[in-house]
């Protein structure tokens, strides 16, 4: 089958681009090796780490200072438009994203640190640090509640770290309802449990007891409150226990991140798109600077996929779009596009793991022009019908700059609207 557009990669950038194209009436196929980094991330939309400041203002300054930064290529308008589209998709899926691109929020992490982010699911909004009880304010403490069986959420640690940062917080483990015996206690296992009315009612009653005894007005829970109906589950728990509830994202698999993927997938299918997971694109076939087809590894054979346009959304090193084949060479895995990388391995890493602004190797990627087309070392367009989006693009440490979702949204919107 001949597609108008084939998108390689099923993360936020690729899916947003795919939705844009499909809504414009194109025949669109998304092929991906598997699930994307959505399943590992917070489910919040980070634009830029400017603390509790104005990320758009920070981006304007960044664009002026770094003309090769992906944000400089897309411009502010693409960021705002992309965010609006993503908000619309989530709103339609009954899972609103709240917040403003002009004001970062600080939300507690599963370690009890405060993390700046921009748009957040409605289920996390009550975690905004400005609303949390401070020590000496006389307000009742925040109650951080979890389950001992969930190995990726530790209320005592979270509460203690919030305390040391000046907040009033307490941590508690809830007793698991008896009906949950012999379950899979991963984050996704808990999410499935919370989708059972009996389970969440029981948890709600345990919380009610604590609220009555301790006078708590706000409770933090791990972000495992269902995959498909989280806002309703939060509302239900709130009405049972009588306190505000918010979720804190957990380490992977991140249920909050999975929700974003489901919403994007749903919107894409609604727009008539097709998704094929389990297809690992490892080469392309070109005629001059026109890419004719890509080939994916499938069950013991290669599959040829033809399209007029290709959108490369395979991610960076963590997503698998970039790979170091040995100690010195990084490649782009799908099409072997030229990469911009540090000159030598000696420049790949800093001695300090958490060094600011992040290790130079992770700024590697494909150099692109203003239309996001891949460029070679001489700044010539490699393929005129290929667009690169998301973390595959050079010039940005998406994780350490706090721009992972923002760059995905902005580039995905550009690629979807062209």
């Amino acid at each position: 089958m001949q597609y108008d557009t084939i998108v390689i990669g099923a993360g936020i950038a690729g899916m947003l681009a795919a939705i844009g194209r499909a809504k414009a009436g194109e025949r669109v196929l998304v092929i991906a090796k598997g699930h994307a980094a959505t399943h590992w991330t917070t489910g919040c939309i980070d634009l830029l780490d400017v603390g509790a400041g104005d990320p758009l203002a920070g981006i304007a300054a960044l664009i002026a200072a770094q003309p090769d930064h992906p944000y400089a290529l897309t411009g502010i308008h693409a960021i705002e438009s992309g965010l609006a589209r993503l908000q619309e998709i989530c709103e339609d899926g009954g899972y609103p994203l709240v917040g403003s691109p002009q004001q970062n929020l600080l939300l507690p992490t599963a370690a009890g640190a405060l993390r700046p982010t921009c748009l957040v699911p409605v289920t996390m909004a009550a975690g905004d640090a400005r609303q949390l009880a401070r020590k000496g304010s006389g307000e009742p403490p925040l109650l951080v509640a979890g389950f001992r069986e969930l190995r990726d959420f530790f209320p005592p640690m979270i509460a203690a770290n919030l305390q040391i940062q000046g907040f009033n917080a307490e941590g508690v483990y809830l007793t698991l309802p008896p009906l949950a015996h012999a379950a899979d206690f991963s984050t996704t296992g808990f999410a499935r449990l919370f989708e059972q009315v009996a389970f969440r009612t029981d948890v709600g009653r345990s919380l009610r007891k604590l609220v009555v005894e301790g006078g708590y007005q706000r409770i933090a829970l791990p972000a495992v409150l269902g995959i498909h109906q989280a806002p309703q589950i939060v509302a239900e728990l709130q009405s049972i226990c009588g306190a505000l509830i918010f979720e804190i994202p957990t380490p992977p698999p991140s249920v909050a991140g999975i929700r974003i993927y489901h919403l994007l997938e749903h919107a894409f299918r609604e727009a008539g798109g097709r998704i094929q997971l389990g297809a690992y694109v490892q080469r392309g076939e070109a005629h001059g600077n026109h890419l004719e087809a890509v080939f994916s590894e499938a069950a013991a054979r290669e599959q040829r996929h033809r399209a007029s346009r290709f959108i490369l959304a395979t991610g960076g090193i963590v997503g698998g779009g970039l790979r170091a084949i040995d100690a010195h060479h990084l490649i782009e895995t799908a099409l072997r596009l030229p990469l911009r990388t540090p000159a030598s391995r000696a420049d790949w890493f800093f001695p300090d793991f958490l060094a600011q602004p992040g290790h130079p190797i992770f700024r590697s990627g494909v150099a692109v022009d203003a239309q996001l087309r891949p460029l070679d070392a001489k700044n010539q367009v490699v393929y005129t019908n290929v667009v690169v989006v998301g973390a595959s693009i050079a010039g940005c440490d998406h994780i350490r700059e706090g721009a992972y979702e923002g760059v995905a949204v902005a580039t995905g919107w550009v690629a979807g609207g062209m």
Binding site: A113, D152, F362
Partner: protein
């Protein structure tokens, strides 16, 4: 300042120091051991974990070979829980001199190293991944040893006999009155408090650091620190120790250790045992050498690289570092330098630690007028509490360290949800036992129960472990979360040092995922201002 009095002060908590401590205590001498880090913090905890058959030394160092062969049999008997009887092969690859085989056999016989030629079909039946071009194979009594567990075991046994151990105590000064060393001042790195330890005799068992320690007593000891780099691979691709049958060189041994295989080693002179780096080229070289033994070796994932600094004692001028004797030297500074009350024990290797300890304890006993004989070769030592776990019968199944055993135990008790470290199958209760045994940071826990040693290098379990460390201590109202934060940051940084030389392919991807989790999702770096050392934990630079 607190003052403690003892007969013997042992400096250094490696294999040698902990071995001497046990020997002294068993003979009824009062003994104290001080170590600036955790037990085996120095070279002992950074070697490949090989209990030598002696085969490696039969040609170049026959005395060492013979010592290894005798001690090998003793250690298997006195601390069986520290040793996995893997057996060992010496194999001749196309890159090795085919004539060395006969010489090797002859020299094994001369030096008392048990050896037998193995039919190639039998070798390939037992280790299918070995290079089909191997032309001869010999079997010897090599084994895999857990050096950390062994040091703990010796220390536990020594404590039973009344010895005292101060880990995370750094040596500030050796006290000298005239020509006599009379003790030392040490500082507790956890509290900053100092202790004076008066002793009739000081034993310097600090390996590559022996020169630095001796200098504090005004005595010159020249130790050549030889850096040996090792790489852990993510598969136990062989269950037997594999040696190249040739004169000892770099990257010619593969040791199956617990759930991984370790390839080593290099030998590079470093000016200072405290400052050295590991280059990606060294790792690459070893992977290339591994390829000669196991085709496809380079395709396995390298998990981590580290280096130990060998304590090679220089008593003569020799051209090549590797030609220095692997056998050890007991330096009686009274005779050698006219300084009483201090003895240095340098050189040697892990396999012969007990023999070295016996010699040192003999000399000390003689000086102190103690006439008790050495009994360390007879008495079997019990395992420390954190190692006592239900892994079935030792004789049942491939080995004690075979992961199938803890897995079977976990399956039997349905303890999946209790797994804190999935890579190494470490359960919550085992971790808590180790914490209660006096772990001072997460790196100590790693050595104790292998939490964070698997493919993800702590990516999933270290956040959990630091939270549990906090919970373990939080009953104490003075215990601040800042101490647990410091422990977490310390672990991540230590791990990064070992990871950077092997970061490419999947391991680079893993490192980036870990950065996503720790910096992106958890925001650990935002807690840097809320991290400090204390609460009985120590997080050295």
């Amino acid at each position: 300042m607190q003052t403690i009095s003892t007969d013997v002060l042992v400096i250094g908590g490696g294999a040698t120091g902990s071995g001497v401590l046990r020997d002294l205590a068993m003979r009824g001498m009062r003994a104290i051991l001080v170590e600036k880090g955790d037990l085996t913090h120095g070279t002992t905890g950074r070697y490949h974990g090989l209990l030598h058959s002696g085969g490696r030394y039969v040609t170049k160092d026959p005395q060492s070979a013979n010592e290894c062969a005798r001690e090998n049999a003793i250690l298997r008997r006195i601390m069986p829980h520290c040793i996995e009887d893997t057996s060992g092969f010496f194999v001749i690859t196309p890159w090795d001199d085919p004539d060395y085989g006969d010489l090797f056999m002859a020299n094994c016989r001369k030096t008392g190293v048990p050896v037998g030629e193995l039919p190639l079909a039998e070798m390939h039946r037992r280790e299918r991944v070995l290079n089909p071009q191997i032309s001869r194979a010999f079997e010897v009594a090599d084994a895999a040893a857990d050096s950390f567990l062994a040091a703990h075991t010796n220390v536990l046994a020594a404590r039973e006999y009344g010895a005292q151990v101060f880990t995370y105590h750094t040596l500030i000064a050796l006290l000298r009155v005239g020509d006599q060393v009379v003790g030392a001042v040490v500082e507790d790195l956890r509290t900053g408090e100092r202790k004076q330890i008066d002793s009739a005799c000081v034993l310097n068992a600090t390996g590559a650091w022996a020169g630095k320690v001796a200098a504090l007593a005004g005595v010159k000891v020249t130790v050549l620190p030889g850096k040996g780099t090792l790489v852990a691979m993510n598969h136990r691709m062989v269950n037997t120790v594999i040696n190249r049958c040739k004169m000892p060189a770099d990257g010619d041994i593969i040791v199956p250790v617990h759930s991984v295989a370790v390839i080593g080693t290099t030998d590079t002179f470093v000016p200072d045992p405290d400052f050295y780096g590991i280059e990606a080229e060294e790792v690459q070289f070893m992977l290339d050498e591994g390829e000669k033994l196991i085709p496809g070796f380079k395709q396995y994932r390298a998990l981590r690289a580290w280096a130990g600094v060998r304590p090679l004692y220089k008593d003569q001028d020799v051209a090549n570092d590797r030609d220095l004797s692997r056998t050890y030297k007991l330096l009686d500074h009274a005779q050698r330098d006219g300084v009483e009350g201090i003895i240095s024990l340098v050189g040697g290797k892990w396999t012969t630690y007990r023999l070295m300890a016996e010699d040192a304890a003999n000399l000390i006993a003689q000086r102190l007028g103690n006439t008790q004989p050495c009994r360390t070769a007879e008495e079997v030592m019990p395992a420390p509490p954190f190692e006592r776990r239900d892994t079935g019968n030792h004789a049942d199944g491939p080995s004690l360290h075979w992961l199938g055993k803890p897995l079977a135990a976990i399956e039997q008790t349905q303890a999946y949800n209790d797994l804190i470290c999935e890579c190494e199958l470490v359960t919550r209760s085992r971790l808590q036992t180790a914490m209660a045994s006096g772990a001072s940071n997460l790196d100590d826990l790693r050595r104790m129960v292998r939490v964070g040693m698997g493919p993800c290098q702590g990516g999933w379990c270290i956040y959990r472990s630091s939270a549990l460390l906090y919970e373990e201590h939080s009953a104490n109202a003075d215990f601040s979360i800042e101490y647990a934060n410091a422990a977490l940051l310390h672990f991540l940084q230590e791990r990064w040092r070992g990871l950077t030389p092997v970061l490419w392919g999947d391991q680079l991807r893993q490192a980036r995922l870990d950065e996503l989790i720790f910096a992106g999702l958890l925001g650990i770096h935002r807690l840097r201002d809320h991290a400090r050392q204390g609460g009985g934990l120590v997080t050295p630079e």
